[in-house]
Symmetry: D2
């Protein structure tokens, strides 16, 4: 049994901070680094990539719709070709910093509304997959099991990795409950840690309807945008480690 812990990082912009990047880099094994379209100014990318490499954390590109004002959380009906170009732009921008830091971008995880859209949106899913492949066919892609995103990525020949969310509620069909719904984000540390242990051992997660959903995650996404979230992430890591499941990167 092997599992990775991934987390969104570098999500400040200019003067504004979000989350505790340094604390998280001691917890996770893969860093989904914002690329400037929903968050992540260049100085932040420089700093986070440097510290990720120092900490032995693998760098992934957290690509997004172009939407600073909405933090990438609003679906945008971008035509496929434009979306692909937006993805390449972000990948290149982050990769420059990753290479200066001594590594390179090793995987891609779409952010926010784009992540949710390409669970089902064929055209956008295919566009993102094509863009990643064009940029570097060696990149892995991280996403929701059963999503069009992973299906299209696999179809073009990319390595796909399934993830589950430590603190997000799931629908019975295995998609995430929208952040605009109540109860979308869990906050009880012990319950979250229990979920994580169970999903690693059995591949199952309990949905909002009470039925189990099969997720079989190779990676678990933890959050770090609040002090409480950092403590939860540490707890998840500690609980897994106590069971001899040492978080290990996939890329």
């Amino acid at each position: 049994t092997v599992v990775d812990l991934n987390c969104d990082l570098g999500e400040g912009f200019g003067i504004w901070q979000l989350g505790d990047d340094d604390a998280l880099l001691d917890v996770v094994t893969s860093a989904n680094v914002a690329c400037g379209f929903h968050a992540g100014d260049p100085a932040t990318l420089r700093r986070v990539t440097a510290r990720a490499v120092e900490s032995g954390v693998v760098i992934g590109a957290q690509v997004s719709y172009r939407d600073l004002a909405g933090f990438g959380r609003r679906f945008i009906d971008v035509p496929a070709a434009e979306l692909a170009d937006d993805i390449v732009y972000q990948l290149g921008a982050l990769d420059g910093f990753a290479r200066i830091a001594g590594d390179r971008v090793r995987y891609v995880k779409p952010h926010g509304a784009l992540y949710n859209a390409i669970v089902d949106h064929e055209e956008q899913a295919a566009a993102v997959a094509a863009a990643v492949y064009d940029y570097d066919p060696e990149l892995a892609v991280l996403g929701l099991p059963g999503s069009q995103w992973l299906r299209h990525a696999a179809a073009v020949g990319l390595t796909t990795v399934s993830e589950a969310f430590a603190d997000r509620a799931y629908t019975a069909r295995g998609s995430l409950v929208s952040r605009r719904e109540p109860g979308a984000v869990l906050d009880d540390p012990d319950r979250i840690a229990d979920r994580c242990v169970r999903m690693v051992r059995t591949g199952l997660i309990t949905s909002v309807t009470g039925t189990d959903v099969e997720v079989r995650p190779r990676s678990i996404c933890v959050h770090g945008d609040t002090p409480g979230a950092v403590r939860i992430a540490r707890l998840v890591r500690d609980r897994l480690t106590a069971l001899d499941i040492v978080p290990t990167a996939f890329a």
Copy 2:
């Protein structure tokens, strides 16, 4: 005698067009491609880099202050470290498209107010030079002879290339007359072509005070943002070619 012709390209943004990129790619040997901070949306970068490679034109990064509203023509007092990060971001973003097109970014030419600032501004000049070197020490840099920019670039070990402007007025000390001044941009095609022939043959250009300035350009910058400008660029190329000076890239 060998000289390159460089031109700013990819300076549209979204729906807005500026200049005739395709026409220019038949004239110049080096394309200074906008990187998204003063102009140049991702779709434009994809298209221009692809066509540059098809046309055998060398791709350079036209890096800028972050200033879409001002087209990068306004000095911004960016702290050095932030400026360096802004440069790396732009370099990486453009390079992704250049590599997909089958080549890579081969040189850097700062744009607009940044170009003018780092003629004299030591701190910003050093920051841009350091950023270019960090990103790729094989990159050449294009700039004004005698500028702090070329001096700092040379000091860190980058290859420096001097350019002169076909249609810009020069002060007696060899800097460009500000675009906010009258007469900053020449518009008589024959006079411009004559200037170019003279600067290639003798290394000299006549300043606004009537005295000669030594420029010895390895590259001449032509403009292409108006139909008239494209005709002038063609005329410059034709006049040089007629004298057996076939424009040749430097990088």
Copy 3:
């Protein structure tokens, strides 16, 4: 029989121009002025509002999703409360210039993807209507007959005005054919002028399926983003005037 001619104006941004604002101000009676979210930098707003007042053209606010890169042509799933606030921001910003010019914003016409979305999208339609009413209940609103936008605007007590498009293809149910479809924009001047005369006289327009749609426009939208478009706008005005239908503003 009375009809207004409206046109999108002020849709440049910074160095980038789009359309011939001055030429259009001699043709139309109502100017839908961009407010900075899809186009329209402050200097453009100052200039266009001043010239509109000089020309006796009524100023309307062409409010949009926040999307410079996509020119407001991409649907964005903005939550209703945020959308309402985006509308108020744009209204206030334009109104400042209109008042300096000696008039004020007199009506609101949503732009691009927002215009199309609120034909059907109840939540966004209601949000825009509420925002307009909050800002100034005396404002008129311009839109597609039968749209949720006009329905919600009427429900809160705003004056609603129906428009038809001179050069856009209509579906059989009276909505606009998407710009992403072929044939969405007509380009034959005489056919366009004939359509306009017919819609003013009979209230009818022929849809892409050949059936008539009832539009009864109090205003006709002409375009001005190409030299050809300006000529068409003039032709429409001339044809109407020749029939003693002198374009007259509604607000």
Copy 4:
């Protein structure tokens, strides 16, 4: 003896928060509300203006260079006419929300690098003053005593109000020590409160060289971007109130 307490508010953007707007609205008498160019998304402007009116706090427009990435802290060499238009745009945008909240913008205080620039920069100072006057000649303006900003504002007929900073170090000539210098921001609560009491009673403040500078503030600027800053602001208010100097707005 009468003095106002002003504070920067509304300086978040989208998901990013900065400062505790609600806490500050219980302390200050005048709120310098960000207008969207350095911070302040529309939803924030709606919320802050509504709560300011509820709290009886006067609303001012904290206008800035267009620079979200730099939080308006970087000098931009904007041509005067463009700067004036940027100011009008921001004033109108904020005023819309202030009017919906039941009041209106009553004064203007430039932010960050613009504030510092127009202490000396004649052209920009005159441009901002002209823009404010054009928008509404009844607006008061808040600034540094002796600044070109206040001089030009007075020259066009605006009411000028002098302020001093509770926690910023002063040079011997009465300007602020740059934030890029060490010691630019004081952090000892008691020392700050003592300074405030002294400047209200005597009009004097001690500069970094030890000499006194005459400031005679009608308003004192407190900060609120950290929990400590809010405590300091409260302490300043309490110390003044204990001396029967009840903070009172100027506009």
